[in-house]
Structure formats: structure tokens, C-alpha cells
Amino acid sequence: MSAFRQRSSVSYLLALPAALWMIAGLIVPTLFIVWVSFWATRRFSLESPLGLMHYIKFYNTPVYQKLVIDTVLQTGLLMGITLVLGYCMAYFIVGKVRGEGRKILLILLLIIPFWTSALIRTIAWIPFLGVNGVINQSLIFLGLIDEPIGVFLYSRTGITMAQVSFYTLMATGPVVYVMRNIPPSLQQAAQCLKASPTRVFWRITVPLTIPGVLIGQMLVFLNVMADFATASAIGGNKFTYLGNLVLNLYESGQLSFASVIAVVLMLTMFAGVALLLRVVDIRRLGAL
């Protein structure tokens, strides 16, 4: 018998430190943001009257709503690209690379860039994307273009390229994990039942890796929705998403309206996660 029975109060005690930390560090600040978003003044005062003033402002300003749509669209684009790239990478590493050592080496090579800080990784893209950057010079060298083009830096293309490089790994990792746990006998059994490799892929491999895809997509969704640093550094403040707006409002002292945007961002993220979870039962992840 286990020393900790399910309803033993000892097991609750074990969860206490983490619970306190979560309450103090996450739940209380979140509730505080929600509270501030209902302040019906422009000033910072704990005695502000409560009201819907800032929500009404959000509701009446189409620019802000368009920003929500822009953020969601950019996130959707990233999810689509990282889904395909990440799945191909996972399939290659698990299915095509021979030898455990080589697999680990490849995964390490993918992870190494993430040993530096996010800021450095982002800034490192600038010399690549600039008018005289590596990409333009390479294209000129290859004779594909005659003179530098400016579509990379300070553009959505540039932001997207950088974000793809940051977030593809998030989409890859969970798929690698789930795919490795599929017993090879399943694919072999399908082959013995007259399924060609293409059909084995679509009928066996893909359905069985959906939980991994889903978790990866959730990570990408949450991170891209909240990403403001990439847009600031590479978009040159020309392109803003919800995260940038929150930062701008905060810096200009509009705390209540910043909180409203933060709440909108959070609600959108909740809705997205709920939608993803409806697609596939995540609890089946370990049950393969």
C-alpha cells in the first residue's frame, strides 16, 4: 500500500508550497489586473470607483479590435507554419535518423540556440534581415535579385521569419516524444495489412501523434499571442500586436486601459486553449 492514500491530508500539505507560490505569484496579480481594468478613472488610485469606462472605450474603438484580429491571425499563421515544419522535423528525427546518438545530437543542435537569452536571439536576426543583411547579400550573390530589397527588416515577413525560428521547436518536441512512443509493430502491422507507406502515415502515424501536435500547437499559440519582443525589435514598432499595446499603454501610464487589453488577451488565450482541448482529449497522451 502506498503511504499516501488519496484523501490523506498529508498529500495536500505536499502541494502547499507550490500552491502558495501560484496564488501569490499568479492568481493574485491576475485578479489585480482584472480589478484595475474596472477602475473608472484615468489616475492610479486604489480608491477608484469601479465601472466599465475602459471596456466601453475598447468596444467603441475599431483600431483596437483590429489589433486583436491581427494578433490572432499572426498566431494562426505561426501555428500553421510550425505545424508543418515541426511535424516534418519530428518525423525525420524519429523515423529517418538511424541511431539513438545521432537523434540526440540533432535534438541538441536544435536546442543550442535557446541557450542564449531571447533578447540576443531576437537581435541576432537584425543583421540577417537588414537592407545590407545576410539574406539580401546572399540573394544578390546568387543573382536572384539585383539590388537589396527591404521586405525583410521592419516587416511582417521579418517578424514571421524570426518567430518561426523561435517557435518551431515548441511544435516539434511534443511530436517527437509522442512519435517515439508508437510501437514500431503498429506501422508494421499496417504494412502487413496491405497499407503502403503513405497510407500508414495518414492512417496510423498521424492519428496517433495528434496529442503531441496539439500540445505543441498550444505552446506556440500561447507564446505567439503573448510575444511582443519580436515585433518591437524586428518590426521596429511599425507593427504592433496585443502584447505591444499593453506595453505601450503601461509605459504611458494608462494602467486601467492596459489592464483591459491584458484581460482581452487572456480571454482570447483561454478561448484558444479551450478550443484546442475540445479537438482532442489530451488525457490520452500517455495512454498510447
Partner: protein
């Protein structure tokens, strides 16, 4: 050179198959012919190459050398999905995301049969295997025995020429195995499909196989009906591997007529030899006598004699098995029906005997000095 017509005498034919994994030779120059409707058991210890042989037939492993013929068609250039066979895996390999019904229809779906036909045949198959009520369930809700039936139904619905089975009852509870074995044998007889069954369990092989193929170190040691394997082990390995043999080592002292006189640590014994293949005097040889052929009440015909002391008695239902110690310290097994003969007690000294024709001289392993 074999023409297709000739080769179709056999449902399955392997010719000179060799398969290596890096430096390890898993199957070495193996040839095997199986006639239609036969139940063949590949028997051997783990690592002997029996599963690799099965996977070569399936096309899941590619042999370096040799030919594979299924139903008169040479298939060694074909991928698994183009070969005419079905396979049952040791872990059943049921698809966790498909219902039993979907699962069983998978093969027909891959063969692009019309929907209506798939539906009808799945219904029939579910009924045949008495699993109709679990059609909508997923594998993780099935018991071991149920999974086994689903796996068999899924394999047989495509009406394959041969069925390959890789330790198909190895993962079942012991209590289930016997009934499942009988059921599988019954299915095989009714459908007349060739079964190639891989196992390390000799009881399985002997109770099921029309032909038992004993493998060791990547090669076939002996192939034949269960009785022959049990009573006339061709090599020392087979004699050791199959329970109930007493193996003796010795050197040939003389060849006299139809038998050899062999000097062992326990005395000189007469063992029959094939005059055309008789070993030279002085050659090191091994021979065996079955524990159930030895007798503790020798008569005049039992010219080979041993003195031994009983060390332990095992009770095996209708049979008693005695563990006896020879004067040189080696152990000998004796099996007697409880209804015949008197019980030997522990510590009792007995004289064991056997007739000349009861001994089986082994063929030396290939490459060993004659």
C-alpha cells in the same frame, strides 16, 4: 533453377536465406519448403533467428541473400504490402485509435474493396470469431484473450495464403493458452491456410505443428514431424533443447555391424549407426536416450546398463520423473508411468537399462571434425 509451376507445390519456399545485423548473423543460408495447409512451428531459443526468418518472409527484413517464394510467386523484391500473407504480432499490434470493427476492416479497406463488401465481411468475421458485441470498442478496453481474437480476425479477413504468427499466445495468461491454442489449430484446419508459428515453447510446437523446425544459431538443426524431433533428435542441440533426453558424450571404440560401441565416462554402450555415415573409431560423438524409454527393470534385451542412485522424484500426473545420479556424479532422468513399475524411493540404488535400438547417435555439428 525452379520454374514457377514446380515451386507452387509449396505454399512457402525459402532458398538460401542469409540475414545479418551488422556483425551478427541472424539467419544463415536457411532453406525451407512448406506445403499448402501445413502447420509449421519454428522452435528455438531466443536469438536463434526464428523471428528474423518470419520477418524475412513478411518483407519486414530484407535478406542479403536468398529467395522467398509465397504461393509460387517470388516476393523477395516486393514490399510487405504487396505480398500475399497476413501476420499476427506478439503484442497483437492493435491500432489504439480504431474500434474493433474499423480495425478488422482495415486490411480490406487498404485493398480498396467496396464499402458494402467490407461491411458484410466484417460482420461475418465478427460473428465467426464471436466478437460481434465488441465491434464498437477500442483495444484498450479489451482483455488479453479478446485482443488475441481481434488480432486473428484482422489478419484472416483478407483471406491470406499464409499466416505468420510471432509467439501469438506468448503474452496471454497461462490459463488461457491451452484453449486459445486449440482454437487456433481448429481455425487453421477449417480454413486450410498455411500457418508459420514462431515459438520458444516446445509444448506449443509439439501440440500444434505438423512440422516442427528446430533452429539454433541462425540455422535449422532439424525439421520434421513432432514425433521424429522428440524421438530421433538429429543433433546434440536438439537432444538438449527438447526435454526428456539423456545426453552422453564419448568416443567411438569400435564399429560392429549396425552399431557403434561408445566409450563414455559411465561405461561402454552400444548405439545404432547408419553404416554409410558411421564415424571413425576414436571420433568424439554424442548420443541420447529418452527418459521414458529407459527402464529400471531391465531384461535380457536391455544390454546397455547403468547403476544410479535416486536423488529426487517429481510427480507429473500420470508420470513420475526421477532424477538419478550416476557413479561419476552425472545426472540421468527417468520417466515412468505410475501404473507400470514400482516406485523408486529417494536414496535407492537401481540398475537402468536400454536396448541398442533405443539410443540415438547425433550428427556432429557442421564444421566440427568428424
Amino acid at each position: 533453377m525452379t520454374t514457377p509451376v514446380e515451386s507452387h507445390r509449396y505454399d512457402l519456399e525459402l532458398k538460401g536465406i542469409t540475414k545479418r545485423f551488422d556483425d551478427f548473423v541472424a539467419v544463415k543460408n536457411l532453406s525451407l519448403s512448406v506445403e499448402r495447409g501445413q502447420f509449421v512451428c519454428l522452435l528455438g531459443p531466443s536469438g536463434c533467428g526464428k523471428t528474423t526468418t518470419l520477418r524475412v518472409i513478411a518483407g519486414l527484413e530484407e535478406p542479403e541473400q536468398g529467395e522467398v517464394w509465397i504461393g509460387g510467386v517470388r516476393v523477395d523484391d516486393m514490399p510487405p504490402w504487396e505480398r500475399d500473407f497476413a501476420m499476427m504480432f506478439q503484442d497483437f499490434a492493435l491500432f489504439p485509435h480504431m474500434t474493433v470493427r474499423k480495425q478488422i476492416g482495415f486490411g480490406l479497406e487498404m485493398m480498396k474493396r467496396p464499402k458494402a463488401e467490407i461491411q458484410r465481411r466484417v460482420d461475418e468475421t465478427l460473428a465467426t470469431f464471436e466478437i460481434s458485441e465488441m465491434g464498437d470498442r477500442k483495444p484498450d478496453t479489451l482483455s488479453g484473450g479478446e485482443k488475441q481474437r481481434v488480432a486473428l480476425a484482422r489478419a484472416l479477413i483478407t483471406q491470406p495464403g499464409i499466416l505468420l504468427l510471432d509467439e501469438p499466445i506468448g503474452s496471454l495468461d497461462f490459463s488461457l493458452r491451452e484453449s486459445v491454442m486449440l482454437e487456433l489449430k481448429d481455425v487453421q484446419r477449417r480454413l486450410g491456410i498455411t500457418f508459420i508459428w514462431v515459438t520458444h515453447d516446445q509444448n506449443e510446437a509439439f501440440s500444434l505443428g505438423d512440422t516442427v523446425v528446430v533452429m539454433n544459431h541462425a540455422q535449422i538443426e532439424q525439421s520434421g514431424p513432432p514425433e521424429t524431433i522428440a524421438e530421433r533428435p538429429r543433433t546434440r542441440f536438439v537432444a538438449d533443447f527438447i526435454q526428456g533426453n539423456n545426453v552422453f558424450e564419448g568416443t567411438v571404440a569400435a564399429i560392429e555391424g549396425g552399431h557403434a560401441r561408445i566409450q563414455t565416462a559411465s561405461g561402454i554402450f552400444a548405439v545404432p549407426v547408419d553404416p554409410s555415415q558411421a564415424p571413425a573409431p576414436g571420433a568424439a560423438v554424442t548420443f541420447s536416450i529418452r527418459a521414458d524409454i529407459l527402464t529400471s527393470q531391465p531384461t535380457d534385451g536391455h544390454v546397455n546398463r547403468l547403476t544410479a542412485t535416486c536423488r529426487a522424484v517429481e510427480y507429473l500426473g500420470a508420470i513420475r520423473r526421477y532424477d538419478l545420479v550416476l557413479e561419476d556424479g552425472r545426472s540421468v532422468k527417468l520417466e515412468q508411468f505410475r501404473s507400470t513399475g514400482t516406485r523408486i524411493n529417494e536414496g535407492e540404488k537401481v540398475t537402468l537399462g536400454w536396448r541398442v535400438e533405443d539410443g540415438v547417435l547425433h550428427t556432429p555439428p557442421a564444421g566440427a571434425p568428424a
